[in-house]
Amino acid sequence: MELDEKTFKELIHNHRDLIWRICSCYRLNAAWTTEDAFHEVLCNLWKGLGSFDKRSSERTWIFRVATNTMISLTRITSNQQNAQPAEHQEPSYNNEPYHDLVGMIEALPEPNRTIINAHIQGFSHAEIAKITGLTLAAVAMRLSRSLHKLRKQYNSK
């Protein structure tokens, strides 16, 4: 896609909610706000815009870039203490069972966590396959196993 500020602006306006949601579901160091993460994702989207060839949808591409950015930021900040949820002020996060489920999803290894997050955001199996580079069968298997694992953990509480 052409490096064009107008195109980029339209793209971000159209998908700002999705980007925000991805940023807010990763725990970062306390020095990082969701706004910081959002900005970092936008930087990477801008840098990657030139190589976006439209073989996947804009939404799929944005999810992939945003998720990779958040995984990278999580690694950068993981050695530091005081980790807090990026959106710790959100009231629903204090709801105990909900918090448990979010924590269980966070604890999943990659790419299973990405697959579950994409599933929660409403992506189809085919779209998740494009995001992760896995086959359709592999996505279906990992999704099924991850949901089974989450269900088992949840029910054991």
Partner: protein, 118 residues
Amino acid sequence: MQNFDQQLQHHKEEQQQKRYPHTEAELDKVILSAVQDGSLIEHKATFPENHKQHRLRSAIAEAAVLAAIIIPSALYLHNRQIERELTTIDIDGQRIIFSCNKECDPAEVLDNFKTIIK
């Protein structure tokens, strides 16, 4: 207590209802800032990678890049976030303004910056 399927459904609905919380004008500012930063990041290759704080490194690197490579007159307002504190430094009579994380100590930023551009 809700069962797993109810909780998962609740989580899905909460996620899908979540909206970017700032105004259109604020989003435009962040987009502009990201375009500027996304372009600048390409010039960061020579910056030391082992600095203790990523955010601090980012702010210093951008200022260093601007001072050394991009703008001879070196007047730059880095509009990364509205809430950021702005730090102004003078190098050879040229003023550079950049923003840094609120938790950063401006004196430390300046010391590091001076070390880098020596």
